[in-house]
Amino acid sequence: DAGVTQSPTHLIKTRGQQVTLRCSPKSGHDTVSWYQQALGQGPQFIFQYYEEEERQRGNFPDRFSGHQFPNYSSELNVNALLLGDSALYLCASSLGTILSSYNSPLHFGNGTRLTVT
């Protein structure tokens, strides 16, 4: 049973550039959430995609955008990269957007380590 897969595992970019990160959800899941984990911090919610639309968004600027494809995979795009965007970007998948005691919370991927120089 394939878990959440993310690519690439590591990426180095220069300030001002743009980056695209990719995620394939766990088999059977249809919802993808993205989190940013800066060094020494816990993950911070960026946004969630369901039915190819952004459903929820955290406190992140418009430079952060995403997309979900019909096969439920997702991309995270970051424009005009800043040094402060250096972090581990985590993708997490779930079945549906409503969390209840009956379903399992998020399944996380191993993340993409982004370094901005």
Partner: protein
Amino acid sequence: AQSVSQHNHHVILSEAASLELGCNYSYGGTVNLFWYVQYPGQHLQLLLKYFSGDPLVKGIKGFEAEFIKSKFSFNLRKPSVQWSDTAEYFCAVTPYSGAGSYQLTFGKGTKLSVIP
């Protein structure tokens, strides 16, 4: 907005010692609570969760957590740690208002090192 505080940044224990990791959250309403664990080189995995009912929740690998509503706390415990418990532990909360949300707020994490 809700927030989560984890009191210890790094905890070092010998094998067989007892473990308690503190977690406090700030949110005025009903919440769902979680502990996630990240073993070295691996992805975040769910240890246990609290939604309602018995405030003492049992999870995988012998871990348990107690929800104390009056203290806004959800501390993680294990009676006897093993070297394989070496990992980083994250407490997380999400508000519940008729339906739960997958928008989790995480604490900064506590790194646990268990010495054989």
